[in-house]
């Protein structure tokens, strides 16, 4: 086995990139991932990427916030220390709603920021995962796993034919890990 871990096709144009993906898929070569400096419409469908589960996480984090707020107000001002506010009952639900609403948003926003950092390895102190630095600038990168796809010459040829400006053979997965 060679030491090459990933083959990167570097494209200068998103249309060429889409063409490259089609070429690789037509030849049954599995694409590891694609890195682009900007969002490209329809690329998720083409690569068969599953829908993000962010919304499900958002729902559960939000509902945790709602329940925390309710528990906090209920335990403090209904169970522990009742206040007489304008002669209303201790459990005056309309008064609770703004706090429940705000904590829902707070929990949801904070946990989504955390989830984003965790899933993209951008947590402070962690090295970012970048396969090709120019994917954050002006190049569109297709990454193919070189260990599972052995016919490297064919992959190079397909990428070049599709319009790749450069094909790299990387021995390390993430060049940003110094």
């Amino acid at each position: 086995m060679s030491n090459i871990k990933y083959i990167l096709g570097s494209f200068g144009d998103p249309d060429d990139l889409m063409h490259g993906i089609e070429q690789l898929q037509a030849n049954n070569i599995k694409i590891h991932d694609v890195y682009t400096p900007m969002p490209i419409h329809g690329i998720e469908a083409k690569l068969g990427i599953k829908r993000s589960r962010l919304d499900i996480l958002a729902f559960f984090c939000g509902i945790t916030g709602t329940m925390s707020a309710f528990a906090l107000i209920y335990l403090t001002s209904v169970v522990d220390w009742k206040h007489n506010i304008g002669g209303k009952p201790a459990l005056a639900l309309p008064d609770f709603i703004p706090i429940m609403f705000e904590l829902t948003i707070l929990f949801c926003a904070f946990s989504l920021v955390g989830a984003y950092y965790a899933s993209t390895h951008l947590f402070p102190g962690r090295a970012p995962r970048v396969m090709d630095l120019r994917a954050t600038d002006d190049r569109f990168i297709i990454a193919v796993d070189a260990q599972t796809n052995v016919d490297h010459g064919k992959i190079d040829g397909l990428l070049k034919d599709a319009g790749a400006l450069e094909v790299k053979h990387n021995e390390r997965k993430y060049i940003s890990y110094e």
Partner: protein, 403 residues
């Protein structure tokens, strides 16, 4: 992405079932109003006329607002569906005339706004003298009130006709001139609209109970008219698509409309609740009287309002796939439209017929009549021009819209 072959000269033909049904609905409406007057229920009939005339005008106004927002935001996704809100905006002058006529007749016969316009309220020597109303009479007097109605509605109508005319010119001449002008006039319109709709809502609806006031009321009404207009736009587009028109509308466009309806239903609830909670929390008798009446005499409508306008859009439109599904979006839009009828019902009825509110022939008939009138006028306006603004600069973006 790709190139498309859509028919840019496609025009809606207003014939057949849609036309027959809308005319039948108008006839039912006229019959119901005639029945209401002949049965001696003048006040109830006037309250219903005001409700539906206000609803009609608000939906058309917000169609114009939608149009202006798209221009000011330089939105691309909506470029191919703009003819529908344009048709609604074009109907605004008709709606405005009807609303002013209803309000004028209601004032003249003392069937509407009698909380501030009944004789003697501002006369110190009269036994009906009301100090609070006298204090408000600089603002709430018939000439100034009618003047405001006429000025607001004619300014809105002027911008409605201006924007549709510019779009017409764009079709004929092409180029960016009309778009730039539309952008400029939309900016001016939005400033005027933002400052005047709360006053319009204070006048038309809040002054029915002139002793009570709420500064949230303007935005509460704005949210109601905006979300009902979005629902109307969605309904018209889905029904057109179902009958074979507007083949360029894909489920991403529906998704955007669904997001709008979902978001602004929550916004409506937010403003509704902000008004309710402040009054509940402060517990000042002159403010709580508003909700006291609604809890006491309109309890069913009060809760139904929240179920239709908050719970149903939240639960049914939360899911992404539901926003993209024609039939679900159509159902929710109809529910929301009915919901805002209920919303206006419990805004208007306690200030007019008080505890003698009913739900019967007059209510259903008037509503049907105005729905028929709206359908007839809007679809007539829609059938005058092609269903797509073929020279809109963002048209390609809209045709390729993908979310």
């Amino acid at each position: 992405m790709g190139t498309h072959n859509y028919n840019f000269t496609e025009q809606f033909e207003f014939t057949g079932k849609a036309k027959t049904l809308s005319i039948i609905a108008i006839v039912i409406g006229i019959a119901a109003i005639a029945y209401g007057f002949s049965a001696g229920e003048h006040e109830r009939t006037f309250a219903n006329l005001l409700l539906m005339a206000y609803y009609f005008a608000c939906v058309c106004m917000s169609g114009l607002f939608f149009l202006a927002v798209q221009f000011v935001a330089q939105a691309g996704w909506s470029a191919s569906i703009l003819r529908v809100p344009q048709a609604m905006a074009k109907t605004l002058p008709i709606a405005a005339v009807i609303l002013v006529a209803v309000i004028g007749a209601g004032l003249a016969t003392h069937n509407l706004y009698h909380h501030w316009s009944a004789p003697g309220l501002t006369d110190v020597n009269s036994e009906n003298y009301d100090k609070l109303i006298d204090g408000k009479s600089a603002f709430l007097n018939v000439p100034f009130f009618m003047g405001r109605q006429v000025v607001f509605l004619s300014v809105y109508s002027f911008f409605a006709l201006l924007l549709t005319k510019l779009s017409n010119n764009e079709d004929l001449e092409g180029g960016l001139n009309s778009y730039r002008k539309s952008f400029k006039y939309s900016c001016i319109f939005l400033v005027i609209y933002g400052f005047t709709t709360p006053i319009f809502a204070f006048d038309t609806v809040m002054s029915l109970e002139a002793h009570w006031f709420s500064t949230m009321f303007g935005w509460y009404n704005f949210a109601a008219m905006w979300v009902s207009s979005l629902a109307t736009i969605a309904i018209i587009i889905i029904l057109l698509k179902k009958s074979g028109y507007m083949s360029w509308v894909n489920n991403s466009h529906l998704h955007n409309l669904g997001q709008f309806i979902f978001g602004f239903s929550i916004f409506w609830t937010y403003v509704w609740f902000a008004q309710f909670m402040l009054i509940y929390y402060a517990n000042i008798p002159e403010e709580t009287v508003y909700f006291y009446k609604r809890f006491d005499q309109y309890e069913f409508w009060f809760y139904l309002n929240l179920v239709l306008n908050f719970l149903s859009p939240v639960l049914l439109l939360m899911d992404r796939d539901n926003k993209r599904a024609e039939n679900i979006l159509l159902t929710v839009s109809i529910v929301v439209l009915c919901g805002h009828w209920v919303d206006y019902y419990q805004m208007i009825m306690p200030g007019t017929v008080e505890e003698h509110h009913k739900f019967g022939i007059v209510e259903i008939g008037t509503a049907a009549g105005f729905v028929g009138l709206f359908t007839f006028t809007v679809l007539t306006a829609l059938s005058k021009k092609p269903l797509i603004a073929k020279n809109h600069p963002f048209l390609q973006e809209s045709l390729n819209h993908h979310l």
